[in-house]
Every structure is written in structure tokens, then in C-alpha cells.
Point group: C2
Chain length 311, copies 2
């Protein structure tokens, strides 16, 4: 039981091409930090918001980290309040699970202040309350990977089953974030509500092949399966140069390349030796469409959100 | 290199509720037997067809086992011919992969006569040629489980990837075959060509949860995931009493219950101690709809088609 603690929660890739709304994986290289501090007055107070994004709501009910911690304070009927300092390391509207990471970092930091800490599965529900503020509906495909780490399957909403899926250790994820924003709502609204059966079967084969490839360490099967035939063809028109960026990644040996969550960030899976060349080729392809971008490389390390400073 | 060999190929359950056209599993308790005998005259000759079904075509090109072995004889340019005796243990039109089992037993028996035997993956392509005769199109979701055994994922048609998926050893499959027939073509024609996105997401969650439950031995996750929300609701109207049979299985503790392949056979997964009670309840439920039925229980033993007699 501490008076103050700082948690780091990694960014995350929702969907992972083949698992729309059910798969996600953490991206360790970037993330949000939240410091929680015990205060005498009840409720939640946001003391500061800094880093890449500063113009977020300061009212706890309208802030993802604030609302997540507030739902925790209320549910546990805590006899103290919590003050939050939020340090954003994830660009807004990037499709990298920034709102989820803030909510997760908030509850993980607050958890360190409790007389008896909660499990990650218990924290998940509070983080979801925060994510709801940002997305307007309940989604766990960014929350769970940021909290648990690595490649994560989440099924069920009321009592989610969360399963970490092994990934061959040589795999790296390359992320390229073009300097444009896309709203999650707009990216959802573009989707057809009805899908051709032949594509449903094809995507099922890809999802099953991808998971089986991960569980059995079969990189060839991962390569043949990591392809989104349902969502990506509809959303790629929202991202200038997407096809050129994807072609560049695949030409340099990527196992697969698709849109991170609702976009516009593009991710590629590859093996470690190819990662740098793939990153550079993807950045160059966006540049040809006059889009500057930031790019990072991460392992698929299964460690999730964690306390980085506290005492 | 033998002059004669007999192979057994097990029945199989296509789709397994959540993996339409990509998953299947063998059912060891029943199957077809084919004896292959070396003869001097070239080509393939069907000497006899016996067992549960006798009125199948005797011309090799129109018979699944005949066509499978014929494609093998032609492709390998064998300097001898093969005579086949087919013993059907799988009822026709039952949704238990009978045509696939005959094709598989044919190529496995014929393989024992070759100077150098082929791998199962090589045999798969020849068996597919036989299955094509029966179904009018190329499907491997019954061929692969009958040939390899256990729960099998097959993705890709031209160069199929076949993966055996572990199943917790306590799991049993109960099969109940009502005395009626359904054509695979009719069962395919009833399907909508377009699926609602929300059901696609739900089914993806079920498929991913089911596979992950199998790989991690999580029976609770298997139970929560073994549910077909896309195909079963459309096909169940073709099977009188289906809902009552399913309800009976679930009431007695089944992990899940759905239609085997294109039907009308219904299967349930359960743990070993519940298997007999579930079988009896399902048979009774069909009887209430004036349908007699046969019923069997099998392990999910990962052994597939095999030589049972030859020398």
C-alpha cells in the first residue's frame, strides 16, 4: 500500500488483421504513463496532462483514465481520493489504443494504492469504463493487450475471457504512424453491415491459420494467414498510400501488413532481421504520398502494464 | 511393397460448429474399409461394394474411392493396375464424411502397394480427386481429418496446410444419426450468401475461443465457444427435432452440440463421464419426433486412416 505510484501501459494494435474486435497485441516501445497519488478529498482529480497530447478533458467523467479510476473508487467505496498525472506517449487518433492505455495505466497505478490489490481481470472491468468514454461503446480489444501484454484474445463482454497467445520470439512488429488522424467512429461507419459468405470463410481460415501458426510456432502458416479480407479492403481508402506502404512491407519480407485498429497507423509483422528495412520502406512509401510519419519497432513481449515507479 | 492391403478410414465431422469449411475431426468408432489388390491389367477395377451401402457406382470414374485411386495410378504412371473392394461402415448422406472416408481408405490401401510410399500430404491430393466426384466441388474438411485423425485445421485448396490441433483427452464426441437423408447440395443451397457483420464477429470470437481452448486445454472456454451462430440457424430447419436434441445434450452437460457437416447427423462434445447419458437423451429427443436413430461415442484420438491388414 503506497501513497503514490506510476504505471506504464503499452500502446496496442487492435484486430491484428484477422481478429476484428477479438484480437489485439501490445506494442512495448511506446505507451502512456499515469501517476496516482492518494489525497484526502474523496473522488478523482486530474492534476496534469502532458506529453504528446495535452488538450484532453480534465473532468474525470470525461477523461478515460479519470473515468476508469473513478469507477474503481466508487465501486470499492474507497475512503480516500486519488489524484492523477497523465503523461501521453501515444498520439491521439492514431489507432494505437491511446485511450485504452491511459485507462489501463490509471487503474494499474491506482491499484498500487489499495490496501489489497486487485487481479488484472478485476482491473479490466474498470479500465473498460474508461475506454467507454472515448469510444462511445465497450471494446476490450485494446484494453486487454495493454493490460496483459503480448498477443491477447478477448471473447465475451460481460465476463470477458482473456487469453495470452504465444508468438514466436523472432517476431517483431513495425508500426508506422502517418501524420493524419482518423476518428474511430468514422472508420466504423464506413463498414458494410453485411459480409459475403465466401469472404467469411476465407477470413475464418485466416484467423484459424494465424492462431494455429502462433500456437505451433509455424511462421510459414502465420505468413499465409495474416491477411484481412473483410475490414481492410473497406477501410484502406481512408489512408492515402496504404496499398503502397503494404506492398513495400511485403516486398521487404513482412509476414503480413494491415491497419492498426481503426487506423491510420499501419503495422507489419516480420522477423527481427528484416524489421529495420521494412520500417524504412514503409516510411518512404508514405513520404511518396506526402505524408510524414513516425515509426517504431517492438517485440511481442507478453508483459503488459506495470508499475514503473512508486513508493 | 505388398500385393494386397486393407485400410480403415474413420468417419469425420465437418465444420465442428465454428469452423465452416476449415475444421473437421475424425470419429474413430465407425469408418470405411477398402482393400487394394495389385492386378496385371492397368487402371482401376472395383471388385465389390459391401457393408451399409451397396448401390454405389462401380465405374471407377464415378466412385469416390475408384476416382481417388485412379488419379493416383495415372499421376504415378504405375505399370500395374489396382482392384478395390469397398466395405462401407458409414451411412450414405449422413453428414459423416462417408465419401471422404472411402476415398481416403482407397489411397491409403493403394499406397501400401507402391514401391515407395507417399506421405499423407501427397495422398491428400489424390483423395480430394475422389471427394470431388461425390460433392461436385473440392472440399478437404472431411478428407483431412479422416486421413490425419483427431481435430484438424485445413486451410488453402491448392497447397493445403493441414494442422492437427490437440484436444483435451477427457473429451468425447457423441454422434446421433437420425434415419433420414439430406443432400449436401441441398444443405449448401439453403445458405444465405451474405452474413451480418455482428454475427461474423461473434462467430470469429467463437472460432478463436474454441481453438485457444483446445490449445490450452481450457474446457470452460471450449464450452463457451462451441456454438455456430451462422450456419446452424439456417440449416436446423432441415432436421426435425434438432433444437430438442440440442437442448437435451446441453441439459445433460454437453460442451456444445451442432450439426455434423451438412447434416442430418447431430454431434455433441462432452467429457467422458457424461457421454452415455447425453447419447441416450439425444436419441430419446429424436424419438419424440418419430425419428429412429443410430448413436455412437468416440474419443478424439489423433490417429487417422491406417492399414489394418496387408501382406
Amino acid at each position: 500500500m503506497k501513497n503514490s505510484a506510476t504505471a506504464f501501459a503499452p500502446a496496442s494494435i487492435g484486430n491484428v488483421a484477422v481478429g476484428f474486435d477479438v484480437l489485439g497485441h501490445s506494442f512495448q516501445t511506446i505507451g502512456d504513463r499515469v501517476t496516482a497519488r492518494r489525497i484526502a478529498e474523496p473522488g478523482v482529480r486530474i492534476a496534469s496532462i502532458g506529453g504528446l497530447v495535452c488538450d484532453l478533458p480534465r473532468e474525470p467523467e470525461k477523461n478515460t483514465a479519470g473515468m476508469a479510476v473513478l469507477s474503481m473508487v466508487r465501486d470499492l467505496k474507497l475512503d480516500f481520493g486519488i489524484e492523477l498525472e497523465i503523461e501521453k506517449g501515444i498520439p491521439l487518433g492514431s489507432g494505437l489504443g491511446g485511450s485504452a492505455a491511459s485507462a489501463v495505466a490509471g487503474v494499474v497505478a491506482a491499484n498500487a494504492l489499495l490496501p489489497k490489490s486487485l487481479t488484472k481481470l478485476e482491473l479490466l472491468k474498470f479500465a473498460m469504463k474508461g475506454e467507454e468514454v472515448a469510444s462511445g461503446s465497450v471494446h476490450v480489444d485494446n484494453i486487454a493487450p495493454s493490460l496483459f501484454g503480448g498477443l491477447v484474445l478477448t471473447v465475451g463482454i460481460d465476463n470477458p475471457n482473456v487469453k495470452q497467445i504465444p508468438v514466436p520470439p523472432s517476431v517483431r512488429c513495425v508500426l508506422v504512424h502517418p501524420h493524419m488522424t482518423l476518428s474511430t467512429r468514422a472508420a466504423r461507419e464506413i463498414l458494410n453491415r453485411s459480409i459475403d459468405l465466401s469472404n467469411v470463410i476465407w477470413q475464418s481460415a485466416n484467423l484459424a491459420g494465424f492462431l494455429t501458426g502462433c500456437f505451433t510456432g509455424d511462421l510459414r502458416l502465420i505468413r499465409e494467414s495474416l491477411e484481412d479480407v473483410i475490414i481492410e479492403p473497406q477501410r484502406k481508402v481512408l489512408i492515402p498510400g496504404f496499398q503502397a506502404v503494404k506492398d513495400a512491407a511485403l516486398k521487404h519480407g513482412a509476414l503480413g501488413c494491415s491497419i492498426s485498429g481503426a487506423g491510420p497507423t499501419v503495422f507489419a509483422w516480420c522477423e527481427e532481421p528484416q524489421a529495420t528495412a521494412i520500417r524504412d520502406a514503409m516510411v518512404a512509401a508514405f513520404a511518396a504520398y506526402k505524408l510524414d510519419s513516425d515509426a517504431w519497432i517492438s517485440t511481442l513481449d507478453p508483459s503488459g502494464a506495470r508499475i514503473v515507479d512508486g513508493g
